[in-house]
Each structure stands twice: as C-alpha cells, then as structure tokens.
C-alpha cells in the first residue's frame, strides 16, 4: 500500500511538472514574441551569481539522508532559495528605478512576469521546505515525509532547469546591460 502510494505520487508529480513546462513555455513564447529588439537589463554577473546560488541549493537536494542531515540540507536550501528570491527582488527594484517596469511595454511586462512565475514557484517551494522541516522535526523520516521530500527534490530541480533556460535565453542572448 505504501509503495503504491509512493510510486503513484511521484509519477503524478512528474506529470504535473511536465504540465508546468507548458506554463513556462507559454510565458517564454510570449516573451520572445513581445521582445522587440533588445531589453536593457541590470547586470549579467549579478544574474550569473543568482543562477549559481540556485544551482547549489538544487545540488544540495541530492544528498538527503537521515533526519539530521536532511534537516540541515533543507535549512541550507531555504537560505539559498531565499537569497535567490531576494536577488530577484533587488534586480526588479533596480530596473524600476531605472524607469522600466511592468507597465512600460509589452516586452517588459513579459520579462517581469516570466521571472515572477519562477519566483512564485520558488516562494511556494520555500513554504514547502519550512512545512517539511517541521514535519521531519516532529515525525522524523517516515514513508510520508520521504515521499514529500522526493517530490520537493523533483520540484526544486525542475525549477532550476527552468531558470537555466531563462538565464540562457533571456540574460545571455538578446539582452544588453546598462
């Protein structure tokens, strides 16, 4: 019964992530269509650092083990995830100060929204990490918690892949830096 639930849930969560690809694909497609010419972004090194931060947190998820190790790793992921989100927020603030915001044009609307979607998913991820940490703290590593950990790992790593696409196609290609 438990292995059944485990495999069903992981499979179902995979399917959900595949569908989420379509969500991001829609925002990506819209960004590329609306993005006429180039957008002037904040700073490439900054975005690169942001990517590395996220990458490391995702890497950490591969090492879940016993209760204490897992709690430590989750804490580490939370810190890095929060840092990632803060960096995104900082970038937004810089861009708004420079005079470009959501309402400036279609291209900017698409840029801010695409990134915010990743941010929103990451925020949900952070909440998930906190809840799981509490669960593991009080109940330890059980079939339920390890199932949820597996899903979280998938989620976090999926988000990372989406971010890699964003970094490559939005930051590296077709953007200039002011």
């Amino acid at each position: 019964m438990t292995t059944d639930t485990h495999s069903k849930t992981i499979f179902g969560f995979w399917v959900f992530l595949m569908s989420d690809c379509l969500l991001f694909a829609s925002f990506f497609a819209t960004y590329f269509v609306l993005h006429q010419g180039t957008v002037t972004l904040f700073s490439l090194p900054f975005a690169f650092t942001q990517s590395v931060v996220f990458l490391i947190s995702s890497f950490a998820a591969g090492f879940f083990g016993d209760k204490h190790k897992t709690l430590a790793l989750l804490g580490f992921m939370f810190v890095l995830g929060a840092l990632f989100l803060s960096m995104m927020g900082y970038e937004f603030a810089q861009l708004v100060q420079a005079g470009t915001s959501w309402q400036t044009s279609g291209a900017w609307s698409a840029f801010f929204t695409l990134l915010s979607m990743v941010g929103l998913h990451a925020a949900v991820g952070l909440l998930w990490i906190v809840v799981l940490m509490l669960q593991i703290c009080f109940r330890g590593i059980t079939p339920s918690t390890s199932r949820r950990l597996a899903c979280l790992k998938l989620f976090w790593q999926f988000l990372n892949i989406v971010w890699v696409f964003i970094f490559s196609f939005v930051y590296l290609l077709g953007a200039q830096y002011g």
Binding site: M1, S7, K8, T9, F11, G12, V15, F16, M18, S19, D20, C21, L22, L23, A25, S26, F27, A29, T30, V33, L34, Q36, W102, Q103, T104, S105, G106, A107, W108, S109, A110, F112, T113, L127, V131, Q135, R139, T142, S144, R148
Partner: protein, 652 residues
Amino acid sequence: MFGRLNLEAFHQDVIEQGADLMMVLGAIFIVALLTYCKRWTWLWKEWLTSLDPKRIGVMYIVVSMVMLVKGFIDALMLRAQQMISVGDSHGYLTSSHFQQIFTAHGTTMIFFVAMGLLFGLLNFLIPLQIGARDVAFPFVNAVSFWLFAVGAMLVLISLAIGKFSATGWVSYPPLSELQYSPGVGVDYWLWSVQVSGVGSLISGINFFVTILKMRAPGMTLMKMPMLTWTTLATAVLIIFAFQVLTATLTMLSFDRLIGTHFFTSDFGGNPMMYINLIWAWGHPEVYILVLPAFGIFSEVVPVFSQKRLFGYASMVWATVAITLLSFGVWLHHFFTMGAGPNANSFFGIMTMLIAVPTGVKIFNWLFTMLQGRVIFKTPMIWFLGFIFAFTTGGMTGVLMSIPSVDFQMHNSLFLIAHFHSTIIGGVVFGFFAGLTYWFPKIFGFTLHERLGKWAAWCWILGFFIAFFPLYVLGMMGATRRLDHYETAAGWQPLFVVAAFGALLIAIGVGFQVLQLIISIKQRKENRDATGDPWNGRTLEWSTSSPPPEYNFAHIPEVKERDAFWAMKQAHQTHNTGKYEDIHVPKNSPLGFFVGIFAFCLSFGTIWYMWWLAAVGMIGIIVCVTIRLCDDDVERVMSAHEVQHIETARTRA
C-alpha cells in the same frame, strides 16, 4: 473595504432580476427541503466532504445540470431576440445585455456543462472500468470538483452582483482589455474560467495516473475498455493544454489588474499573441470534450448491438492519432487574421487530416451494428442522432478548413452551426446516451424508457430545425453575435424557424425532467437488482447498482478485453474467496473549504476587495498545508463489514 463594490452593482434590469429571483427561490427551496427532511448532516457527511469519486461524480452532474438549464435559457433568449429584432424593432434586450448572454451561454456550456457532465461520468466510471477502488488522488479529485463549483458560482453570482463579460466566450483583446471593457464583467469571466481550469488540470493528471497505475492485474493497455482509452487520451490533452490557458488568463488578468501590456494594442502589446495562445488551448479543449463522448458510444453501441466492438485496435490508434493531431491545428480558428498562405495551408491540411481517424471511428461503430442484433433503447436513439448531427458538423468542419472558403464563413452563423453540430451532436448526445445507459448503475434503478425516447426525438429533430437555418444564414452573410439586423437582409424567416427548433429542444428537455421525476417515483419497480441490466461487457457491470464504496470486494483478474463479458462466458462472475480489510479514503472538509477560499480570492480580486482576496489566498494555502501534514487519511472497512455488504447483495 468594499473595493469597487457598491450599491450600483446590485441594480439589474428586469430580466436579470427575474433570474435572480429564480435563483433565490431555488436556493430557498433546497434549504427548506433539506431542513424538512433533516438531511443537513447527511449532506455534509455523505456528499460535501466525501472523497469517493462516485459521490463526486454525481455532484459534478448535479451542478452541470443546473448550469445546463441556465445555458439553455440563455440560448432561448438569444433565439427570441434574433427572431424579432429586425428593422425598426430592437427586440427586448439591449445590445450589452445580449452580448453578456451569448458570452455567458458559451462559457457556461463549455466549461460548466460539457466539462462537468463528462468529468462527472468519468469520476464514477473510470475506477470501475479498470477494476480499481478509487482514483489515484482522491483529495485532489475533491478539490477539482469544488474549484469547478466555484467557477460555476461566479457565473451565477454575476447575474445578481455586477455584470458578466460581454466579449464572447474566449474574450479576444483588445476588446477584453480595460480600455474597452472597464467593468467587472471580463474579470468575472477570467476568474471563473481560471479557477475551474485549475480544477480541470489536476483532474486530468488524476485520471492519467489512475489509468496508468491502477488497472486491475491482467488489464494491459490493449485490454482496456474504449471509454478508458479515450479518457486517457483526454487526460493527455488536458495536461498539455490547460497550463497554456492558465498562463494566458494570467497575462490578461495582469493587463487588467496591474496595467501590463501583453495584449493591448499599444505599448508593444500583441493581441494576436492572445489569439494564438488561447486557441492553442482552445482546440485541444474541444477534443477534450468530444473524445469521452466517442468513448461512451464505443461502450453503448456494442452492448446494444449485442456484438463486440468492431476494430478495437484501429479505434485505439484513431484515438491516439486524433490526440496528436489536435495539437497541430489551432490556427484554423483564425485563418482570417492574415498569417499568409503557407501557414494557412499547413494548418488547413492538418485540420482535414483529423477527419480521417474520426471517420474510421464512425465506420467502426456502424460495422459494430452490422450483423449484430440492435436493441433500440434510448441510448441507441441518441447514437442515431449523433451520426447525423455530428457527421454534418464534421463535413462542414472540413469545408471550413479550406482557408479560402473559411474567409467566407469565419465568424458567420455557418461556423456557429458547425460547432453546435459537433458539440450537441457529439458531446451532448453522447452524454445523454451515457447517462441513460449508466443511470441504473449510479442510482440503482432504470429510467423510464418511453419518455427517454420522446426526449431524444425532440432533441434530435429540434436540433436540425434549429441549426440548419443557421447554415443557410451563414452563407447569406449573417455573422454571429448580432443583436439586430436590417429587414432587407431577408434573414428573419430563417431565425423564426431556428427559434421553433429551439422550442422543440425545450420540449425535449421538458420530457427529460418529466422522465426523471417519474423514474424517481417508480424507482422501486425499476430497481436494478442484478447490477447488469443491459447485459454489459465491462467491469462496472459486475458490481451492484449502486456499487459499494470500495467498488470491488475482490480486485478482479482480467484475462481479456470486455473483461466482464469474458467472466460471464466462463461463468466466473462471483468471487466468493476470502474477504479482506479494505482501505478507503476518510472524508475531508478541506476540499469544500478550499472552494470557499477560492471563491473569496476570486470575488475579492474581481471587486478590488484586497483583504478578501488575501483571506482567500491564505485560506487555500492553509487548507492545502493542513492536508499535506495529514498522514491519517484512510479508514479501514473490516473484512467482516465487507462480507456483510457482499452477502446482502447476493441475497437481494
């Protein structure tokens, strides 16, 4: 505190006041009935908090039937207006009211009738057909239903508070942008579709996992019933299409809420992008609607022809082909937007290709009847209607897939007649056939046969009389969505005929209501004691009518396709082996509460009552978190309890 909600929002015209009165009276009636029969606890425990997909399925159908009545009244109002609004007369509806009605009609029928009826049936049937006890994710399933109900609620509330959208059921920008639609209407539309869309997405994932992971031992893919196959295909379509809808609606919401420029005409926005995205979802959507209907006919025709389904393997491959092809045709919804001959041709040809597997299905059903012994009970009457109506729709669809011809038919009444032919002929007739067929399984007694036949004939005849004039009108240059036209156009006689057809359909609906009432009164005489009133072929007929909560006391071993038929031939229908404890999901009120909070979020955002929206958002997060911390989600039905239920059945 109240955002942009003020007393003005409650001012409605006479017709809407009438609708509001009907809703209020209906609500009072239900409350009174429940109180009089002392059934509040029963409602809460047996239905609202149930995680049993059989219960959830019935709730879907009930909500959808209510919405069907509303959507149908919308249709009658539209027909009435177009019948009299000629020349100097401007009918009895203002232009904006008329535009709200056709928007609500389309939105209601697609999202809250067709999707609801089908999800309802599938919830009940899919676990039974595959020999499972439940769907893969029972709680998520309940949440899907409540999100669906909230979407429907938003449409109904717009009749009383504020206005509904007047921009058509797909809400093209720039008309649906703030500049041209500043009120709450489009926001109501956005939230009702977005919320129910999330419900649909997670249902799609649920069915996909259920079918792939929970089939009874021995049921390989090529031994599944056709309804299960088409449901699997539908689930694939949902999984790929609905996130596109979510993204698109989010972008339009942002345009309206925070002033972004995704789809505005100026500031670098691109309305054509919306049209591409919405139809990238919209085309798979219509296959999401029709494939289960095809599945239903694949179940009904063999049973009532007393013969195996013809060409099972090609039916499966045709379904797969339709599923794949349906992702490559979306541009045919806007040939007239100027994509150029290469793009138009490509999509035109792809669209035509879908006719081939669809035709294969029709021939296979016909050849199932060939050299069978066909019993013309109500489900088969619906099937006959389907052949004529749907094939007409299919033919006209292929005609319109020729871009140069479509330039003369796009957005005309010819188009309207085409998609009503396929949706009514396919989805509605399919659903009614299915409902009649599976009614005894769901409720334990059969429906009155003669009234069912009269209803079917009225619907079928009414359909042709209502929609054939529209084909002609379209060729005369009459476009859709017109609340008035000049006398010289010469269209009025045809609109009168169409209205008469709609009236005939209304009589058919009347027969259906009568049928329900009389069948309920006569339920004891028509009780289905065996569980197999039609000599069925698939596993659901091996259970009692209605089935016990756990569906199967013993999970069946499947040896061939038409598993139950094989069991009957081998005289192995009763498994009296040792009974075991069965785990079933515990009830949970959280699905209901997620619904309440989703309503708060939607209503709050629509009316700019940010505190209410925040309450909604936080509430949803809290409910979901509580559920995800809950490890005690099942209860055990003891082997003894199961034995008791099963032997009571055999005795009966």
